[in-house]
Structure formats: structure tokens, C-alpha cells
């Protein structure tokens, strides 16, 4: 069965190739169906694999396809890893991916680049599947950069807008910075352990290793730098909010549900390695915390519906890294899953709103949309409840697991993360209330245009809403159930090595405390939005609205100096310096010969005089020599 795994990425690849080659002649309908069908087929195969692995963990393993690079002692097979972790991610990617493909057939209906869009989307799914399936870091890296490419292409999908293509460029370049870290980590691994394959590497590590802890930390941190780029953590997060320039389903799929969780996947995959690198773990936890707080605070004051969601994504990713940092790998993966459901739903809901508003994304021009689009409103509300962490919804369980693990590791982590959760509840409901309740604040033309989206768009919303509600029951906390289904399923792959367990009473207390505070925040958000005024921000609010001026800081500290340096090098070092030297050497010769040439003044007399002098000199020399 596992040998069929190559089919999973193959279908989207075929979809990409067909849509890409016949983009001119392919009818729209066929293109959308082809692309969605490809992902659905992958989903079906993934499902089979999933159940196979679930029932019998031994059924997984490495599927060797061909030798990718073989030179000297370097041997990189093109091989896939089938196990619990990769199968779970396969399901998330193909499942959510399929829903978003369906949604896109409605959302992108009028776009001129319809076929191109689906080609890119399939390319993305293909790359993402490679990333998840790769049986060694090199194959993972292929997918890692491949999703970066797809993301670049889709962010700059409307290529005529310069700011959109800038955003795509920014995303790719920031990811490249992370990728360098990934590469160095990979080379360090290969240098010290002689392999980049999981199946060879992790058993070596499982029983402890001779390699110094410092080196292990270095490897772990290098990989984490890669994750910082891909999963938008401080300091490499600024590309993600800009990436909202892409079509909204793209934001849902790539920049919320799947691609940005690649970093979490990678670290969870390398859990054995990270358990041996305590300093790196602490760093991850701190970066995750800082990111979740920073992004949540920015989200409080954003007025662009997609920007709020983008910062929310960054913040939720921060939670996942916090979980990884405290060693709760299952918790992180759990949150990846629930987050994929509710964040995809939020983005698709936002897309539905934007679709109805004719492209308008500004909260200040919305309001009262619930009357016009009931399905969107209800599903959006469910997603908000899930992300805020209301008991019973999926987000509650996963977030609670992370918070509990954080508390067990260090209560300060818990308090800060709880602060982030409160902000999350506030900004999500601010978004909800401003969008769907109150009075409509846009133009009357927009109001006339308001309508519920077609079935192709509402169907994914409904499916995702159901998943957002029930998705959490696979991971009930220990106080509620003996069996954490997800943890049991992942146990063969992910090692939750140093998670401390809390007593039941503490856990109940923490839960009650966070839930009551979150409910308070929602009420506050409701009161705040009832006033419904947008006033000029000042003080801290202004700093938040301007995203802590981080972009400006990067511009001033990195971009401008680098460009300045390049200009100076071009003008002085290159043209005046090196080329000046080269040309100077040439000029010296031509100047010298110019001087020498003056001896030849064309006067016959001078020549003869010279000749006579020469003869006389020769005579004298001869006389001296003879004498």
C-alpha cells in the first residue's frame, strides 16, 4: 500500500503540467475541475494511507523512488517517508486544499488568469506534499523552496500591480534568508552524522549522541532559522502580512493552513534532534512567545480584514512554536490541524465578504453584513469561537494543551501566552462585530451588490465549520479523557520527551481561568464595537496600527544600507577602484609611449644627430673595451 504514495504528489503534478501547458486552450470549467479533481484524488490516496498507518504503524516506512544525487560519498535518494506524522499532514493538505480548490472555482470565476491560477495552486500542493513526504532533509528542502516559489507566484498573481509583486518578492527573499539557515543546518547534519535521511539519522540520535551539545544546538538553531522564514516568526515575519496581496483562497491555503506550518512540521519531524538541543528549545519558546504577543498586539489595530487574519496567523504560529519549545510536539501538531480548519475558514469567510463587497477589504466600510450573507456569518462566528478558545470548539482543546504544557514548563510562559489568547479573542470578535453586525458603512452601490456567495464557495465554508467545531475531539485533555487519540496516533514518530504533566486540579483551574477571561474579552469587544467609531489613533494605538514600525526599521537598518553599499561599491570600488586600476595601467602605458614618441619629432637632423652621437659613443665604448 505504502508503495502507492508516489500517487499523492503525482496527481497535483499532472494537474499543474496540464493546466500549465494548455493554459491558452483549456476551457475554464475543465481547468477548475481538473485541478480540484487532482487534489481530491490525492486526498483519497492519503485517506487510504492514513487508515493503513493508523491501524498498523508498521505499514509505514521509506519508499525509495530513484537516486536523486549520487556522487562520491554523497547519496541522496528521492524517497518518501510514510508514517503517522506525514499521513496526518497529507490529510490536512489535500483535504483543506481540495476545499479551497473548490472554493476557488467560484471565487476566481471572473479572473482572466483562471487556468494559470489553478496551475499555480496545483504546483503549490505538489510542493507541499513533497515537503511533507520527503524521507530526508534534501527532499524536504525541495518542497520547502517549491512552496516558496508557488507562494511567490500566487502573491504576485495580479502581476500588474507593483505592490503585489513587491510583496511576492519580499516573501521569497525573506524565505530565502531562512532557507540559508536550513541549508547550513542540513550540511551540519550531514557533516556530523553522514546522512540527511530520517531513517538513518534519528535512530543514531535516539540513544543519545557523541556529538557535543553545542553542535546539536547549532544544528537545531540553523533549522529553526529556516522555520522562522517559512513560518513567519520574529524576525522574519513581515512578509506574511504583505503576502495578503494574493487572492484570498491563496491566503487561506498557503498563508494560513498549510505552507506556514511547514516550520512546525519540520521541527516536529526532528523532535528527536530538538530534544538533544535544550538551548535551541528555549530559544524557540521565547521567539514563539514574542511573536505571538507582537503579532496579536498589531492585529488589535488593523482595519484591513485580511491583515487582521494575517497577524492572527503569525500569532497562532507563535503558539505552535511555543509548544515546540516546551517539548509539546503533539500539541503543536494538534494546533496545526485545528488552526488549518478554523483559519482556512476565517480566510474563506473573509474572501466571501470581499467577494460580496466587490474587492473592498476595509473594515470601516463594512458592517451589518450578516443580514445579507447568513451562511458566511454563521460559519465565521464558529471559526471565531474556535480561535478564541471557547470550550467545545476545536481551538480550545489545542490551545489548552499548549497552555498547559507552557505552564508546566514555566508559569511565565503561561501568563504571557494567556495574554496573547486574550488579545486573540478581542481582535477576532472586533473583526466579527465590525463586519457582520451594526450598520452598513459602505457606499450604496456596494450595498446593492451584497449577496451570499455561490454554492461552490459556501460548501467549503460549511465543511470547514463542521471541522472547526468537532476537530478538537481527537485530542481531549487528560482531565476529560484517558485517551488522547492524536497523541496515541503520533506516538511512534513524535517523541514528547520532556512534557511535565499537571495535576488535574491545576489543569481545571487553568482552564477555568483562561475561559472566563476570554469570555470577558469577547464581551468587551462587543461593547467596544457597539460604539462603532473609528477615531484617529494616537499613542500606543498608533504604534500598533503602524505595526510597531518594524517594516520601517528593516528598511532603514537592512535594505537601505545594503542598497547604499551596493551603489557605493558600484560607483567607487568598481568603476573608480578596480576598473580605474585596470584602465590606469593601460593609460600609463599609453601615456609613457606618448612621451617616448616625442623623441621621434620627424626632423631628419635630429635623427642624424642621434645617430652620430650613437656612433661616437660606440667608438668610445669600443676604445675603452679594447684599451
Amino acid at each position: 500500500m505504502k508503495d502507492l504514495v508516489y500517487l499523492v504528489p503525482l496527481f497535483p503534478l499532472i494537474g499543474f503540467i496540464l493546466n500549465g501547458l494548455f493554459w491558452k486552450s483549456m476551457p475554464r470549467k475543465v481547468s477548475g475541475i481538473l485541478a480540484s479533481g487532482a487534489v481530491l484524488a490525492s486526498f483519497a490516496v492519503s485517506l487510504l494511507l492514513f487508515f493503513e498507518v493508523k491501524s498498523n504503524p508498521e505499514a509505514g516506512g521509506v519508499v525509495h523512488l530513484f537516486d536523486f544525487i549520487r556522487a562520491g560519498d554523497l547519496h541522496v535518494p528521492f524517497a518518501f517517508q510514510v508514517d503517522a506524522l506525514s499521513c496526518l499532514f497529507l490529510l490536512i493538505i489535500t483535504g483543506v486544499g481540495f476545499l479551497i480548490h473548490v472554493y476557488s472555482t467560484g471565487y476566481m470565476h471572473d479572473d482572466a488568469g483562471y487556468t494559470k491560477y489553478f496551475a499555480f495552486l496545483n504546483l503549490f500542493v505538489f510542493s507541499m506534499l513533497l515537503l511533507v513526504l520527503g524521507a530526508n532533509y534534501v527532499i524536504m528542502f525541495i518542497g520547502w523552496e517549491g512552496v516558496g516559489l508557488a507562494s511567490y507566484l500566487l502573491i504576485g498573481f495580479w502581476y500588474k500591480r507593483r505592490d503585489f509583486t513587491n510583496a511576492g518578492k519580499k516573501a521569497f527573499i525573506m524565505n530565502r534568508i531562512g532557507d540559508l539557515g536550513f541549508l547550513v543546518g542540513m550540511f551540519l547534519t550531514m557533516y556530523h552524522f553522514g546522512t540527511a535521511g530520517y531513517a538513518e539519522l534519528f535512530p543514531q540520535l535516539a540513544g543519545g549522541t557523541q556529538v557535543a551539545t553545542g553542535t546539536m544546538n547549532a544544528i537545531a538553531i540553523c533549522f529553526f532559522i529556516g522555520a522562522m522564514g517559512k513560518s513567519a516568526q520574529i524576525p522574519l515575519y513581515t512578509w506574511l502580512p504583505d503576502a495578503m496581496a494574493g487572492p484570498t483562497p491563496v491566503s487561506a491555503l498557503i498563508h494560513a493552513a498549510t505552507m506556514v506550518t511547514a516550520g512546525i512540521y519540520m521541527i516536529a519531524r526532528s523532535s528527536v534532534l530538538y530534544n538533544l538541543a535544550p538551548a535551541a528549545q528555549t530559544l524557540i519558546a521565547i521567539i514563539g512567545l514574542a511573536t505571538l504577543l507582537l503579532a496579536a498586539s498589531i492585529a488589535l489595530k488593523q482595519n484591513d480584514i485580511k491583515k487582521v487574519l494575517a497577524y492572527s496567523t503569525v500569532s497562532q504560529l507563535g503558539y505552535m512554536f511555543l509548544a515546540l519549545g516546551v517539548g509539546a510536539y503533539t500539541g503543536a501538531v494538534f494546533h496545526v490541524m485545528t488552526h488549518a480548519f478554523f483559519k482556512a475558514l476565517l480566510f474563506l469567510g473573509a474572501g466571501s465578504v470581499i467577494h460580496a463587497m466587490g474587492g473592498e477589504q476595509d473594515l470601516r466600510k463594512m458592517g451589518g453584513l450578516g443580514k445579507y450573507m447568513r451562511i458566511t456569518q454563521v460559519t465565521f462566528l464558529l471559526a471565531c469561537l474556535a480561535i478564541a478558545g471557547i470550550p467545545g470548539f476545536s481551538g480550545f482543546f489545542s490551545k489548552d494543551e499548549i497552555l498547559a504544557a507552557a505552564f508546566a514548563k514555566n508559569p511565565i510562559y503561561y501568563y504571557l501566552a494567556l495574554g496573547g489568547a486574550l488579545m486573540t479573542a478581542f481582535y477576532m470578535f472586533r473583526l466579527y462585530f465590525f463586519t457582520f453586525t451594526g450598520q452598513f458603512r459602505g457606499t450604496s452601490e456596494q450595498q446593492d451588490h451584497l449577496h451570499e456567495s455561490p454554492a461552490s464557495m459556501t460548501f467549503p465554508l460549511i465543511v470547514l465549520a463542521i471541522l472547526s467545531v468537532i476537530g478538537g475531539y481527537v485530542g481531549l485533555p487528560p482531565v476529560m479523557s484517558e485517551h488522547h487519540l492524536l497523541a496515541e496516533y503520533l506516538a511512534p514518530v513524535v517523541s514528547n520527551f520532556n512534557v511535565h504533566h499537571l495535576s488535574h486540579s491545576t489543569e481545571w483551574l487553568l482552564m477555568a481561568c483562561s475561559v472566563s477571561l476570554i469570555v470577558l474579552m469577547i464581551i468587551w469587544a462587543y461593547v467596544y464595537c457597539r460604539k462603532g467609531t473609528f477615531k484617529e489613533d494616537n499613542g500606543l494605538a498608533r504604534v500598533l496600527a503602524n505595526k510597531w514600525y518594524v517594516d520601517e526599521l528593516y528598511q532603514a537598518v537592512v535594505v537601505k544600507p545594503m542598497k547604499g553599499l551596493a551603489l557605493v561599491l558600484d560607483k567607487y570600488a568598481e568603476r573608480k577602484g578596480i576598473d580605474g586600476l585596470v584602465n590606469g595601467a593601460g593609460r600609463l602605458v599609453s601615456w609613457g609611449s606618448g612621451r617616448l614618441r616625442l623623441l621621434q619629432n620627424g626632423q631628419v637632423g635630429t635623427y642624424i644627430f642621434g645617430m652620430v652621437i650613437g656612433v661616437v659613443l660606440l667608438l668610445i665604448v669600443g676604445l675603452i673595451l679594447v684599451g
Binding site: 621621434q600 619629432n601 620627424g602 626632423q603 631628419v604 637632423g605 642624424i608 644627430f609 652620430v612
Partner: protein, 99 residues
């Protein structure tokens, strides 16, 4: 007559020739000075030939005279052509090869 006298005469003639070539600007006079130098050499050769009693040098002298005659013919023709072109035989003007 001792050989020194011939030597001194020849040296004098040759030096006069050299100085003429160096000092004078008139192409014809320069030309004449060159002839003078040639003839100084001729004189020297004949004198040594007489002294050693061999005829080789005198044969060279004939060669030199023939070549000199040919040279005069060509050289004077050039000078005449130059004079027709620029109405002067001043060698300081003849620097057109420069540049």
C-alpha cells in the same frame, strides 16, 4: 708621404661631411656632405690599398663610386620632386611623416 697625412685628410673630410649633414638645412648641401663622407672613406681605402699593396680595397672603392652615383641620381630626383611640391629643399620642413 707617410700614411698619417692621408688619414688626417680623410678624417677632416669626413668630419666636414658629418658637420655639413648636421648643420645645414639645404637638402642639396646635405647631399653633397654625404658625398664628401663617402669620398673620405674612398680616400682612406685607396691609401691603405697602396700601403698594403693589394687591390681589394680599390675594387670596393669602385663599387662605392657606382652606388654613390646611383644614389645621387635617385636622391637628386627626390629632391627635385620635393622642390616641385613644396618649393623648398629645407629639410626642417620635411617632417610630414610625423603624425
Amino acid at each position: 708621404m707617410p700614411i698619417q697625412n692621408y688619414l688626417f685628410l680623410s678624417l677632416m673630410l669626413f668630419t666636414i661631411g658629418v658637420m655639413g649633414v648636421l648643420m645645414r638645412r639645404n637638402a642639396i648641401i646635405v647631399f653633397m656632405s654625404i658625398e664628401l663622407m663617402l669620398n673620405a672613406v674612398n680616400l682612406l681605402m685607396v691609401a691603405f690599398s697602396k700601403m698594403f699593396g693589394t687591390a681589394d680595397a680599390q675594387i670596393f672603392v669602385f663599387f662605392i663610386m657606382v652606388v654613390a652615383a646611383a644614389e645621387v641620381a635617385v636622391g637628386l630626383a627626390i629632391i627635385v620632386m620635393v622642390y616641385r611640391k613644396i618649393h623648398s629643399v629645407d629639410i626642417n620642413i620635411l617632417n610630414r611623416l610625423k603624425n
